[in-house]
Symmetry: C2
Subunit: 454 residues, 2 copies
Amino acid sequence: METKILLPETELPEAWFNIIPRLPKPPAPPLDPRSGEPIKPEDLLTIFPRALVEQEMSPEPWIEIPEEVKKVYRLWRPTPLRRAHNLEKALKTPARIYYKDESVSPPGSHKPNTAVAQAYYNKKEGIRRLATETGAGQWGSALAFACKIFNLECTVYMVKVSFEQKPFRKSLMHIWGAEVFPSPSERTAAGRRILAENPKTRGSLGIAISEAVEDAATHEDTNYALGSVLNHVLLHQTIIGLETQKQLEQIEERPDILIGCVGGGSNFAGFTFPFIGEILEGRLSAEVIAVEPTSCPTLTKGVYRYDFGDTAGLTPLLLMHTLGHTFEPPGIHAGGLRYHGDAPLICQLVKEGVIKPRAYPQNPCFEAAVLFAQTEGIIPAPETSHAIRAVIDEAIKCRETGEEKTIVFCFSGHGHFDLAAYDAFLEGKLEDYEYPEEKIREALEKLPKFPTGL
Amino acid sequence: METKILLPETELPEAWFNIIPRLPKPPAPPLDPRSGEPIKPEDLLTIFPRALVEQEMSPEPWIEIPEEVKKVYRLWRPTPLRRAHNLEKALKTPARIYYKDESVSPPGSHKPNTAVAQAYYNKKEGIRRLATETGAGQWGSALAFACKIFNLECTVYMVKVSFEQKPFRKSLMHIWGAEVFPSPSERTAAGRRILAENPKTRGSLGIAISEAVEDAATHEDTNYALGSVLNHVLLHQTIIGLETQKQLEQIEERPDILIGCVGGGSNFAGFTFPFIGEILEGRLSAEVIAVEPTSCPTLTKGVYRYDFGDTAGLTPLLLMHTLGHTFEPPGIHAGGLRYHGDAPLICQLVKEGVIKPRAYPQNPCFEAAVLFAQTEGIIPAPETSHAIRAVIDEAIKCRETGEEKTIVFCFSGHGHFDLAAYDAFLEGKLEDYEYPEEKIREALEKLPKFPTGL
């Protein structure tokens, strides 16, 4: 029985999978907050290249992957699909557990799948520099890597709590030639305003997005790059699910349960959308579980409505599950899951009942991650540990019912730069935090009355 | 043109390659320091299991890999052989550069190839706990991982300078359930004696070996495990070279130059010995280059004679290139290369002119590592950066001569836990250090007059 299901480079998918034309109803458009009208593609060209703006709302079912992007993908792709034999044995489960290992990329996560594509299209359209935000640093390091490969400059606004907790993702960005600032910073009007209001703020993804967008909007030769949430980002990530489909086919397996963690949603969407395409067409019946932290329970406790994508209110309005764009989550170690909203395409599928959300506190997730490391060897990123917690719970259910289900999950990244969090866990110092519904209601009541879209 | 040359799991080698029966003359035996006579296998059974003692001096050309070991290997093996297209392009070299990527193992280096085998044989012979030393922490984390898989306890004596500089390799060991002590420690007589003489010592691999050997020798249920130097360790590592041979065959390549870094010599021997077998039989003509740091220039400036393997003088005498067993190298970041001696089998082949040694200071090595990271993506371990420096220099020679040589090297590990060293390099804070020949002579003159074996 194989442990690793490998695809040869010749089997690298030729096109990304676009879920938009497959959805039961078209996605709600992003709105201009001033007019309440759908934004026009031209509005986005200040900060994005034309090719990505076109992909954002493309009706095409497949979008060809440029040869230059595939060439870079081949440094680490196709990634292995691994069978978790040892974990199954430890759990005494009749379930078969597979994981798509996105940790083998140079930055150690799924993020370069879109970073490389975005750097390529920006370079092609004559852009000299990209500005971006990063939470745990996975996205920032991925973009730094991609910019270095395509010879672009790179400026990263890193959420302050991660900048301090995760010095080594900063080192990675420096090795790949990027400049990195803790956010909020004094470099932007948005950053200065937030620092003036709350000098002790630990930052958030929403604040860092405001800074990077402002940097791009105020510099002619600079564009903005987003690591999640937007349709074109999710599109590039579908290479994960497309490869997984081929790998499962190779061993004649069909998934019963698909699991991923959700922050902005990019690894989750990239992994599940090709399968959800099959589900929507009635060719597959599978549970699709999105796992988030109880400290930032967007899909499980947020409200489905229009809201800003950033904290300062610079972005268009997006229809999504949100905790309110002013939401500041506690500084849990899974920095990549600390976002007030979620990708609109994922939220729509949650709303339609195709995706089931679930939330866990961080201690049970680290417990799952340590069991995983002790059986399978690889150390999971704290974000990934949320998916593993759900996988283990589902596998234990199978043990209880005797069902031989096939569970497939996305191993979004390794935890090599998160070992301080493991130290804290092993020393019993991590606190669990359930975000109080009352505080969420309060935050949402403060929001301006945008069109609700419901 | 492929970027990764992959082997399916079914192609995992069935046996390790033993170079001993292929050598032009038999290796000089380890000697008992009291009698000057060759030590007897029984003497080693206090700290090693019988199977490994047998492998240490086995005349068999091939040693079968147990199924239980192969099962664990399959978590990450066969490892990819990668073509460094981007590095070649950056260097404008006509050379073709390939690297065998041992960084994909759970601990991130080649070390588990032997750790898994050693844990297996010890478990099989009823041992409850293994004690070991570690330099940079790569060996300690590999043994911790292997012990967890085979359900053994694990005690690691970690060279103090690395214990302090590399806190995250300690975290890895903790995640995999090992206990870790900075060496020299108060737990052993050897450690206490050295601390009394020099309370400020930063430790060395030689001192840590003394502590681990003493721990094993004084506890009935505990054995010792060594991560390098000994024949059986090098034997287990030959899986690296055996896979590389199959991969090169697959793409119809033959190596002109083989390169690896040398600390104790295990990744180097594991990678090159199967090829050296071909060279000794006249079936291959290739340069074999062993790279070490100028701050610990064992092969380039040491003397070939009998010496202890450890600092306290607890081990048998080994015939090798040595800087003297009391040598304490400066605290360079490539902790894995800070050893006063080298594997006797490698030293013999250096003496016979088959292996050419070369030494570099650390700054040019980090410079090479950053270029590698910026082109190929992966961040090399500081140890590995020494090999990369030599690879780049050889590739530049090819550019100058126009020769289309095939250069193959062992990428022994990633640098994810060495980013503080990269920070120091990027900030211009790393010092180069050439060990003065005078100091080496002094150290050697202080050695007791063992049989020289020459």
